[in-house]
């Protein structure tokens, strides 16, 4: 038990929080048919992260989160502006802006020297779930011991904060968000400031992407934003099941990935361990495939 708490608990918690938050907010991307935006926002935050890091010299969470939110805000405004000014289709404008922002982020990485500090390509792709350990844990009692809890990896604080904010955001603004996803023109005719709501939603998604990025890596953030929501989209006709189910499925995928990464290869007689993040991604993709299969069979009846 102590081994589990020391070695797996922090990773499990991080994967569940990241999966749950991304799964929750992902439904709004999928329902608005803007899945690409998750990819875009998780890339477009890079210049903000670099600037946050360069200004403070700290690899701590808050300056990077603030920088990322600033970049996400600018990217959202830029996408809207490009769409209007160039009369461009949404997907094209999104692609244009996010590659531009990501490129700017790469340049800033070189210029500021942040690249030398700490940017490992493996970490960017797969995150660092395996490095999240809780060495202060000495048994179940540690779960209630403030001194031991203080030794939990700092990423967990950010992840928990963003997860809580996302849940509150979705629960509090349940009805305007639903209307915004279903019929933005009608929302506008009621006097809803649709543009501002879109910005708010995008900022939440960017915050989730940044918090989850450190734990599970950039590719997996995109998978977790899209796969649980897409799978639920195929499985349910009910809005609350879609939204909260997406969160539950995301958290479940995160947990399954961490818990199975060790035992699964062993059970198959293989003598290596799997990357938890990689397994989460694989499971996420499989879930969509299974949902699609079920849907096909259901419709054939």
């Amino acid at each position: 038990m102590t081994d589990f708490l020391r070695l797996d608990f922090a990773a499990l918690l991080a994967a569940m929080l990241a999966g749950g938050t991304c799964g929750l907010l992902g439904s709004f991307l999928v329902l608005r048919r803007e899945s690409l935006l998750g990819d875009a926002l998780s890339h477009a935050v890079l210049p903000g992260i670099v600037v946050g890091f360069a200004l403070t010299g700290l690899r701590s969470a808050w300056p990077m989160l603030l920088g990322a939110l600033g970049a996400a805000l600018l990217a959202t405004l830029a996408i809207t502006w490009v769409r209007r000014a160039a009369r461009m289709e949404a997907g094209a404008a999104t692609g244009l802006v996010f590659t531009g922002f990501f490129a700017l982020g790469l340049v800033l990485l070189e210029v500021t020297g942040a690249r030398n500090a700490d940017l490992d390509i493996d970490c960017v792709l797969f995150g660092q779930l395996e490095t999240l350990v809780w060495l202060e844990a000495a048994g179940l009692a540690s779960l209630l011991d403030p001194a031991a809890l203080a030794g939990l990896p700092r990423q967990l604080g950010l992840l928990a904060g963003v997860a809580l904010a996302a849940c509150l955001f979705v629960a509090a603004f349940w009805r305007p968000l639903k209307l915004l996803c279903f019929d933005p023109d009608f929302a506008r005719s009621l006097g809803l400031r649709v543009g501002r709501w879109e910005i708010l939603l995008n900022l939440m998604i960017a915050a989730a992407a940044v918090a989850a990025f450190e734990a599970v890596g950039s590719i997996l953030v995109i998978a977790l934003l899209v796969c649980p929501a897409a799978a639920l989209r195929l499985m349910t006709d009910r809005y609350n099941v879609q939204v909260w189910g997406g969160a539950a499925l995301g958290a479940g995928l995160g947990a399954a990935g961490v818990l199975l990464a060790g035992p699964l290869p062993a059970a198959l007689g293989l003598d290596f361990a799997l990357s938890a993040a990689g397994l989460i991604g694989t499971l996420a993709g499989l879930t969509v495939a299974v949902a699609l299969q079920r849907r096909r069979r259901f419709q054939a009846l």
């Binding site: 329902l31 048919r33 603004f173 009805r175 279903f182 023109d185």
Partner: protein, 246 residues
């Protein structure tokens, strides 16, 4: 005499280089008005521009003598059915309840009284039995009636409707026409983008005939004339007749 439901002055709307509407000035009389014209004549554009859903290049619109922001609580909008994704995970009642958003706080659950008002609106279009059905499992006509119920649930004085009678079954057409006449009897006004000229004489009080600009406007007797229809539908210079409605 109170202010007219809609007063439009010099409204011009451009999509890039192309002008969809040029210098439209028109005052609606109370009652049931059909907005007629060929595809691409700017009928839907007129509704959207009036409601501030798309930017206008020039012009002013007033409702009941008030600017849009002040008049909003007295307006209801019924968009084209094809403008939304009917696979969306929502029930008919969910969709109608969306109309009650401005009457409530934006956070938290919908109060029971608001939910009942939405249910009543569904009843008014003969859809009470379908309240909990997912909207994708309704027929096209039933979906159109859900949209009408949502507009009714806004409890407005002026209804702006974009082709509610397009491609619907007979029951739905009769239900919608009965609801519209009921609204007019109750002193409400309706502006309806419409394409079926055969219904105009029997059901509408006024017409506005558009072809990028105002071709004719007034009561059905004075404005719904052969020459006006010929001018509007007889071909628009430089524009293909098959072009989709903007």
């Amino acid at each position: 005499m109170s202010a007219p439901p809609v007063e439009i002055q010099g409204l011009t709307v451009r999509y890039g280089e192309r002008a969809a509407l040029t210098g439209v000035s028109w005052t609606a009389a109370p009652g049931l008005t059909a907005i007629l014209g060929p595809n691409g004549a700017g009928k839907s554009t007129l509704l959207k521009a009036a409601l501030g859903l798309i930017p206008t290049a020039e012009g002013q619109v007033r409702f009941f003598g008030l600017p849009l922001e002040q008049a909003r609580p007295r307006l209801a909008y019924l968009p084209q059915r094809a403008s939304v994704d009917w696979d969306f995970p929502a029930s008919a009642l969910d969709v109608v309840a969306m109309a009650r958003l401005p009457r409530t706080r934006w956070f938290g659950r919908l109060p029971r009284a608001e939910r009942e008002a939405a249910r009543d609106a569904l009843g008014a279009v003969g859809m009470a039995d379908f309240a909990d059905r997912q909207i994708g499992r309704l027929s096209g006509g039933q979906q159109q009636r859900v949209f009408l119920a949502r507009a009714l649930a806004q409890e407005a004085d002026l209804f702006l409707m974009d082709e509610p009678l397009a491609a619907v079954d007979v029951v739905t057409e009769q239900t919608i026409l009965a609801v519209l006449h009921g609204l007019v009897r109750a002193g409400k006004s309706v502006l309806m983008v419409h394409h079926d000229l055969s219904l105009v004489q029997a059901h509408f009080d006024q017409v506005l005939i558009l072809a990028g600009r105002v071709v004719a406007a007034g009561t059905v007797e004075e404005a719904f004339t052969e020459p006006a229809i010929a001018r509007a539908f007889g071909g628009l210079p430089g524009r293909a007749p098959t072009e989709a409605a903007a």
